[in-house]
Amino acid sequence: MLDRVRALGQTGINVIVSFGRSGQFLFGVLRGVPKPAVGFPLLVRQIYSVGVLSLAIVVVSGLFIGMVLGLQGYTILSDYGSESAIGQMIALTLVRELGPVVTALLFAGRAGSALTAEIGLMKATEQLSSMEMMGVDPLRRVISPRLWAGFYTMPVLALIFSVVGIWGGMLVGVEWLGVYDGSFWGNMQSSVEFVDDVLNGVIKSVVFGFVCAWIAVYQGYDCVPTSAGISSATTKTVVYSSLAVLGLDFVLTAVMFGNF
């Protein structure tokens, strides 16, 4: 019995310690801003591998999710004879929730796990250590561009996701099921507010991007440098990022749309 309590206490301490370590790590990364001349090409390269290479999965998922929303929305709304509200339904769902959240989940699976594995392998093969011995700080050279790349690319990806999703919904609703396209766009425009919906969605995705990239690089940097360690770090990245995104989404939604 007492042992169980002790184990619980130990777990608690470990959790707090790892929070502290990751915070310290984040501080170390953010403090060391590389010189623009050196940092910019590195950042561009990371935006390419983190953002551009995730584009395909984001676009395809966005298209299908938008089309499914169109179909489902139509069947539900046509019961009330208000299928013209389909545009507003699709746009609000995508812009407020699905855009940022699904993009973040895809990002964690596609780019986050790759970041963790890459950094973990660099650690296991002593590349980070040798960089340090060459007088190059791996936090600045390796970690920082990856963190910022996640921060910059997530809102872009989420916006593209939403736009493609709305287009997919229009494809189904207007082109296929025959909703009048004037009321499709008109209803959408009268109910979607730029600041309250679109910008709040962008803020959400900025937060998610930062958190996902932070978790991914921290797990990579902190992993046990063995093959088992890297694989468990990669799993942790995906699990923790997904949980963090969903939890934070609730908090952010409550703050932004909660009306209290």
Binding site: V38, L121, T125, E126, Q127, S129, S130, E132, M133, M134, G135, V136, D137, R141
Partner: protein, 269 residues
């Protein structure tokens, strides 16, 4: 001590996750010579190199490199000092996404503003020194183990360091590759006059190239001197290590409880 010691460790104590790895170790590494640090696996030889490079901090004691007290250096000063150090890692630690040429060029690009054609000349000179000028366009994954280490060596001497540390350079190498490395280490030392620290448990190779050697076991220095002095050392442990005897002061058995109780035989008694 005096000016002849490039690195000097005094009473260094270091422990990791509750285990004491160094228990008051003192060591002088002379300037411009090859010093071998030998010892059984797991005695923290690599840790010693990391302490010298400032990647780890000791619990107590002093580590001086070229007059600088490493554990007390500020970040920028430490990074500046590291530019005078080269380190050859056990695995080579080449950057897998860069070609051989770019790997060697990396430290030059980061620390200097030399024009591209000068970087090219320097890199090719360094690759020539290790006999791999023709392999400049290969990727690290296309290299053999011995070649990887030679490229890594070229990279660690790219900035003409004063000190170079070799971490287990001979492990897992075939006799030819080993011979090449032995020759390279000796040539680099004599032609560039750099201080070399060699961590290894390959007794024959190490003793054949070093000017000084020291043997570490159980967190202490158990013997040091020139190779001849060590061969004539009276300590049993030094002799056991040098001659590779399976049993002796360092026991064959890992500490365990009495065998009869462990096998469940002595319980009735």
């Amino acid at each position: 001590m005096g000016s002849s010691a490039y690195i000097s460790l005094e009473n260094v104590v270091f422990s990791r996750s509750g285990r004491r790895i160094f228990d008051g170790i003192s060591l002088d590494i002379p300037r411009g010579k090859v010093t071998a640090i030998m010892g059984p696996s797991g005695t923290g030889k690599t840790t010693l190199l990391k302490l010298i490079g400032g990647q780890l901090r000791p619990d107590s004691g002093s580590i001086r490199v070229d007059g600088h007290e490493v554990p007390r250096l500020k970040r920028t000063a430490l990074y500046a000092l590291r530019q005078k150090m080269g380190m050859l890692f056990q695995s080579g630690a080449l950057f897998t996404d860069l070609s051989v040429f770019e790997n060697v060029a990396f430290p030059i690009r980061v620390h200097t503003n030399l024009p591209e054609d000068m970087i090219r000349d320097i890199v090719l000179m360094k690759l020539e020194a290790v006999g791999l000028r023709g392999a400049r366009d290969l990727m690290p994954s296309e290299l053999s183990g011995g070649m990887t280490r030679r490229v890594a060596l070229a990279r660690s001497i790219a900035l003409d360091p004063e000190l170079i540390m070799y971490d287990e350079p001979f492990t897992g190498q075939d006799p030819i590759a080993m011979g090449v490395l032995v020759k390279l280490i000796r040539d680099l030392n004599s032609s560039m006059g750099l201080t070399s620290v060699l961590v290894s448990h390959d007794v024959t190779e190490s003793l054949s190239i070093c000017h000084f050697a020291c043997i570490i076991a159980d967190g202490k220095v158990i013997g040091q001197g020139t190779p001849e002095e060590l061969r004539a050392h009276e300590s049993e442990r030094v002799q056991q290590f040098l001659q590779g005897q399976p049993d002796g002061p360092v026991p064959f058995h890992y500490p365990a409880e009495d065998a009869t109780t462990d096998f469940g035989l002595g319980r009735k008694a």
